[in-house]
Amino acid sequence: MTVTEERPTVEIGAPRKRKEDARLLTGRTRWTDNITLQGMLHIAMVRSPVAHGTITSISTDAAKAAPGVVAVLTAADLGDAQGGLPNAWQVAPDQKAPNHPSMAIDHVAFAGEVVAMVVARSSAEARDGAELVDVDYDYLPPALDLRDCAADKVLAHPDLGTNVSAHYEWHSADHGTGGDVEAAIAEARANGIVIEREYRQQRLIPAFMEPRSIVADPTGEQWTIWTSTQVPHFVRIFMALVTGIPESKLRVIAPDVGGGFGGKLQFTPEEVLTVLAAKHTGKPCKYTESRSESLMAAHHGRDQWQKLTLAANSDGIVTGLKVELLADMGAYLGLVSSAIPLLGAYMFNAIYKFGSYKFACTNVFTNKAWTDAYRGAGRPEATFAIERLMDELAAEVGVDPMEIRQKNWITHDEFPFRTVAGLDYDTGNYEAATDKAKQAFGYDELRTEQKRRRDAGDPVQLGIGISTYTEMCGLAPSRWLGSQGYIAGGWEHASIRMLPTGKVEVVTGTSPHGQGHETAWSQIVADRLGVAFEDVEVLHGDTQVAARGLDTYGSRSLSVGAMAVVAAADKVIEKAKPSAAHLLEADVGDIEWSGSQLRVKGTEEGKSLGEIAFAVLQSHNMPDGVEHSIDADATFDADTFSFPHGTHLCAVEVDTETGNVAIRKYVSVDDIGKVVNPLIVDGQVHGGIAQGVAQALFEEGVYDDSGTLVTGSFVDYLVPSAADLPTFDIDRTETPATTNALGVKGVGEAGTIASTPAVVNAIVDAVRHLGINDIAMPCSPQRVWSAIQSAGGAS
């Protein structure tokens, strides 16, 4: 265990306005679609409208003859060169997966799959040409219903023989972290309480604002690929593996990237196809998707059926939890599709002390867009399930839902704590965060008002929802990832280059796309190296500049990536000591770091790193053996996860006449450990909560019975606007992590994980007295109203 260092900080903790803003505010941006090269060609994809079928013929003659069209490529043209797309996570030894070509060869497995591409001199001509590609399909029955598919009633990939990709289980009794869950349930059936529920985690679409775009340039000695991705380093490795282009000949750049939320944590068919088009034509090629293509063909998230059995004694102390999941993989396995449920597997017990725990999951193929990471990735699903269950248990016991949580949670003096799922929580203070949240919320007053309105039969009922969440974040310890079947590690890399003019270049392996690493890393380095915030330049997202790295996802950038920056900074100081000693005419052993200078112990005499960098540049009279650089690079791998937590409280007003839900008040108190930049942290929490609220109230990816995504535009996929969301009243407690030197935990996913159950708990709480104990997400007015009607109508 690392002990958080106590160092004087000036920049860390300061609400620095972001460096990134200057270009973003003025339109001086470099989105991939802004990149135009001489002679560049444009690609339009021809996508299957059929969810499941075989391609019987493709006629490209008319398209090839169309004005401006340079090439039309089908799978037959690509041949073996297109290879297959990778899945990077084997969650079970016998995991099955169909071959995943970038362009369908003869079998199409979801509506939106690419079946041909048209390369033309302009994007309009490419689109004109795409209309002329004539594809015939024979229909196969689409495999759409998750539960039917799990039973192999219809096969998504007939060649595979089954829809089940993998089944995996984890039981506390097998790992010595708790008892036998079946015994606990049996005991509870006899003498306690058993809550059994099925919850649907509806399919969501990440819906980053910048549609994906790729430019592949084959001219010159090296390939340059600009792509709107969270993971340029992954793209480089996999592009080399799939296309056979040597990795050393590939430069991948993620320029300005307009949001990701897990949705750009992917190695995509479109990336491969753009490279193949460039290879075929010898010219730079660009592909930019439309929004409707993005919604249809970029990976989706969530989509699980959760069957839950909670056992408790009659006082409401939980003795066991059994989780049985069906997880919809969609048509193929993406990079980490198979492991999304696994990332939630260790979080169903959340902040609680359970006697026993069992998790079982079946990954199932269907003829829908494939699913993969979406903000929270597995953990929102787990948190939703347990936080909803705790409310149900409270109702059963007849106590306030807050009380049931207090009875079961880990108290602050019990840390470090090994959970029933086998994770070691380093720190936390659930009581403190909850007390603060309750006070800001006016919990008791709202409960009083709720009772008054219930008693009066008010057509608008008040409900209060609680979510006391935690998450494991900071992906991740490489050893843990290896133990779980992931092919890559979870370390991060950074290098620091001290420029002779006193400026500092920080190269990070993380790949930000809105998170503000340029600002936050500058703050950290400014403190660490005693340089001005303004003098630090953070470089990222270009594999020729940041050669090593594992990119940005899973709230890992600060707790892993920034720790590599810290390690590199410390190395710079160490590396500069011999030069400093020479310049100060002292023994190396007498040189110490003052916070801004290397000094001779006990004196005020010293040299800044900038001065040393300049002296090293000159090297006019450096002694033998001193390196002509004080630059350094370093890696960091975490020993364990970090565990942010918090309490979110939501008050909703449910109009029982229309079913409309309005959020009246939303309070969050998050404990994310030490805060580097409170402005950025607040922004992450706001946006996270908004996405979680959107799952509760608005968003759902819906397929019709032919397998067409009918929420295929922003008309029907309801991303909320400013007018649809309230102001969030957010605050923090600060219990530093003990697992890294900065005491940080990560904040990117917290709001999303916490908010969904808070909202749904509030809605159910508003109408529970009418006999309602569940409403499926998204809780649309029709669903809420129908639930009230089924329960016998409003009072």
Partner: protein, 223 residues
Amino acid sequence: MELTHQFTVPASIDDAWAAFNDLERVAPCFPGASLTSFDGESFEGLVKVKLGPISLQYTGTGRFAERDEAAHRAVVAAKGKDKRGNGTAAATVTATLTSAGDMSTDVTVTTDLNITGKPAQFGRGVMQDVSDRLLAQFASCLETKLGESSTAEPAVAEAASETVSESPTAPVSAQVPRAASEPVAELDVGAAVFPVLLKRYAPPIIGAIVGLWLLRKILRRRR
């Protein structure tokens, strides 16, 4: 999606079956369609659909999956695709006539419909409703036509007289109401419009598919 429509016509089953097959009379229920080829068993056709701001043009093929005169049952399987690659459509249409008395016949039309691509992608949830409505209009139109079978008037259409000559046992078939153009106009899917834009892109194709089926029957009669 499977849609079923039932209605009863005041005609004997033989008269109704014959009338039903007198496509010159019922075909106007399905505007916008035209046949491009027919080889006896299978056909190719074209359906232009105009839905408010949306215009689609489907080309399709189909064949008789079943046609049982004794059981008064016909099944047509057809599929088509939009000429600009906007999507595909397929339908299996089953029509069954059952006698419900000397001068009464029950008609059941079951349509198993599969529409893909943009008209479905941008028509969230409305499809079923609109398809149902369309087929209900079709059924209602048929009901009117078949119900007119006992009030025959002199043939007014060339095609109709041709039909008469082929099908002398169907005395009702020659009659085309003078006002035909008006009720037909109401059902004119081609000119009318489905909810499309951004809110509800609907499936024109239902009318189209059934239209193809009827046209195919016309050709059969003309052989």
